[in-house]
Amino acid sequence: MRQNFWTGLAVCAFALLALNWIIPNYAGVNPMAQMPPDLVPRIASWIMLICGAIIVAGAVKDLVKARALPVTADIDWPAAGWMIWPFFYVFFAIYLLTHFKITHIGAPIIAVMLILLGERRWYMILGCSVVPVALLYVLSVYLMRVGVV
């Protein structure tokens, strides 16, 4: 119920943002075009808005019936932290990839994540981090030779 309420609200918010700011300013206008360039994005936004509103309305009905509030105090913070950390890790990896070559830092990126996920056997960490990078290296050298990259 709560999840439907908040996600439905997010869908509505995005649709309203698209209809009131993104499309008028960035979808382009051409009075000569027989089909305006903003027609399809506008239809898509209306679909999102209507569906989001129905989802919110359904969730509100269920919340009222259950006499519950849309917010709750019992959030499992350790679980939320466990859920979020891989995103931050990948962001950090991307930051590193903008400064170093992937074949140079690929192995440490894999190795650290293996350790964070609980792997402690050194031979597994070494093998699992070096072999994929070596495969990528061989593949990229081959692709360079055939002129793809």
Binding site: Q3, T7, V11, F14, A15, A18, I22, I23, Y26, A27, G28, V29, N30, A33, Q34, M35, P37, D38, L39, V40, P41, I43, A44, S45, I47, M48, C51, I55, G58, A79, W82, M83, P86, F87, V90, F91, A93, I94, L97, T98, I102, G106, I109, I110, M113, L114, L117, G118, E119, M124, C128, S129, P132, V133, L136, L139, L143, V146, V148, V149
Partner: protein, 505 residues
């Protein structure tokens, strides 16, 4: 059917380079399918960058081989681990795991393998004989019909692929919205590019697909690691009682034929997926059996029923793709992207413009099925070992390949940011039951939908009465409205329209 094309196609499919490409795809698919948590669409999304340097025929055959391999491989983990490699093999667990626990894992695996291969070959044959006449009819369709059919397919997929039609449609709306980013085809105006030249060609499809399917799935898997870590796999040994006899195999044949028929029908309909097919086939086999009480306790017919239907769905899902250009599930949608990378428009035009390629793909699919049989037969013991690879080893490696797949294509930091953004979108959709399948299919078919809509508006000069001369278009518009009303009614009444629908594969 032009016999010159057929002969040429068979020759091409049997060339060394094709056999290596197709065999590589099936082997990779088998390995990925065996690992629980990695599914068909994840495999295809990660593998698309690898097909960049292949010829169009080998690239598509490689991806179809990969898809077939994952379907067969997922049965191995379902039987030995009681953890299906993908959702569509969940029905295989019901009898596969009990049979393996009774000391007959090899028998269970062989029944699964034969059912997979037979279901696959029979459904591929049906595809060949249905898709070509279908495409011939579809070539007569104009933009009105195509726009109506695409709208119908989207509503159908949205209604059947998630718990709620409205969540499915909201996801589809987002997919359409993001699919319009880039230069407008008619006016040349940049749409929603926010001044970024990288967005002029639209959102990079590969980054969107890998992010939504593969990277987000790794985030889901890593979240699950907190609660479930280890699993025990049944070991293969050389017991005398663990042999599949001819007599025992014959008892599974009716289930295989029934499963193939069910899988073909389910696969040809957009929105339904292999999970629906395999469970439906399992239920029908149980109903038809004289000893239904054996089901769920290790009946080989149960394994045969679910595996044949699961594998029959893959070629059958290509009927609307080759016939109409409509992807009925995510795997087919990714194939549209793979075709586009090689500059080919998939659909009925493929039959007119590149018939040699189409026949070669069909021949490659049959070859892939036979390679699957050989690999499955001789690689049983090795694949059984792969089921022991724990998920915490798989996750960092797959994440690395997701990042390197984008880097290999030269997207750079922009592509990586798009990748992570869509991984976040995919993660949220999976977690809160918004259909990522509808999102991705909508994103991929939006250019086609918009083109047909634009042509319809220009040809009709905005007069809807033109549709009166277009009965097929009117039929699909009426079907769309009826489907919308019925699915909305069902969502409001029950909450979940079709239990187990999973067109993700």
């Amino acid at each position: 059917m032009n016999m010159d094309f057929v002969a040429g196609a068979i020759g091409e499919a049997l060339s060394i380079s094709s056999l290596i490409g197709i065999g590589g795809g099936v082997l990779l698919g088998y390995i990925i399918g065996v690992i629980p948590g990695l599914n068909r669409s994840v495999a295809i999304a990660i593998a698309i960058p690898l097909t960049f340097y292949m010829s169009p025929f080998i690239a598509i055959s490689f991806l179809i081989g990969l898809s077939k391999g994952t379907a067969a491989g997922s049965a191995v983990s379902a039987i030995l681990l009681n953890a299906p490699g993908e959702a569509s093999s969940a029905a295989t667990c019901l009898d596969g795991y009990p049979l393996a626990r009774q000391g007959r894992p090899r028998t269970a695996l062989k029944v699964g393998l034969f059912a997979s291969v037979l279901g696959d070959i029979l459904a591929t044959t049906i595809l060949i004989f249905v898709a070509i006449p279908f495409a011939r009819v579809a070539l007569m369709f104009g933009p009105y019909e195509m726009a109506a059919i695409l709208a119908f397919a989207l509503v159908f997929i949205a209604g059947l692929s998630s718990g709620s039609l409205f969540k499915g449609l909201a996801a589809g709306g987002l997919g359409i919205f993001l699919g319009t980013i880039g230069l407008d085809a008619q006016t040349g105006l940049p749409r929603m590019t926010f001044g970024y030249t990288e967005l002029m060609d639209g959102m990079p499809l590969i980054a969107v697909a890998i992010g939504t399917l593969a990277l987000s799935e790794m985030f889901v898997q890593s979240e699950r690691l907190r609660y479930e870590r280890d699993s025990m796999s049944v070991k293969l040994d050389n017991s005398d009682k663990d042999k599949l006899g001819w007599k025992e195999f014959l008892t599974t044949v009716p289930s295989i034929f029934r499963g193939t028929a069910v899988g073909t029908v389910v696969g040809a309909l957009p929105g339904l997926g292999p999970s629906v097919g395999s469970f439906m086939s399992y239920g029908m086999a149980k109903k038809a059996s004289k000893t239904p009480e054996r089901f769920g306790k290790g009946a080989p017919e149960g394994i045969a029923a679910s595996e044949s239907a699961d594998n029959a769905v893959i070629p059958a899902a290509l009927i609307p793709l080759f016939g109409l250009g409509i992807p009925g599930n995510v795997s087919a949608a990714l194939l549209v992207g793979a075709f586009a990378i090689h500059g080919i428009t998939v659909g009925p035009l493929l039959l007119r413009d590149e018939p040699e390629l189409l026949y070669s793909i069909f021949a490659g699919m049959i070859v892939a099925s036979l390679i699957m049989l050989v690999l499955g037969w001789f690689g049983l013991r090795i694949f059984a070992q792969i089921t022991r690879v724990p998920p915490h080893i798989v996750i960092p490696i797959v994440i690395f390949f997701c990042l390197s797949g984008i880097m290999l294509q030269g997207y750079g930091p922009f592509g990586l940011i798009v990748l992570v953004a869509f991984a976040l979108v995919g993660f949220v959709m999976k977690r809160y039951d918004y259909s990522f399948v509808t999102f991705l299919v909508a994103f991929i078919i939006t250019p086609m939908l918009e083109l047909n809509l634009r042509q319809s508006i220009i040809l009709s000069r905005g007069d809807p009465m033109v549709l009166m001369n277009r009965p097929i278009a009117v039929f699909f518009i009426v079907c769309t409205i009826i489907a919308l009303v019925m699915l909305a009614w069902r969502t409001m009444k029950k909450g979940k329209p079709v239990a187990g629908a999973d067109p993700a594969a």
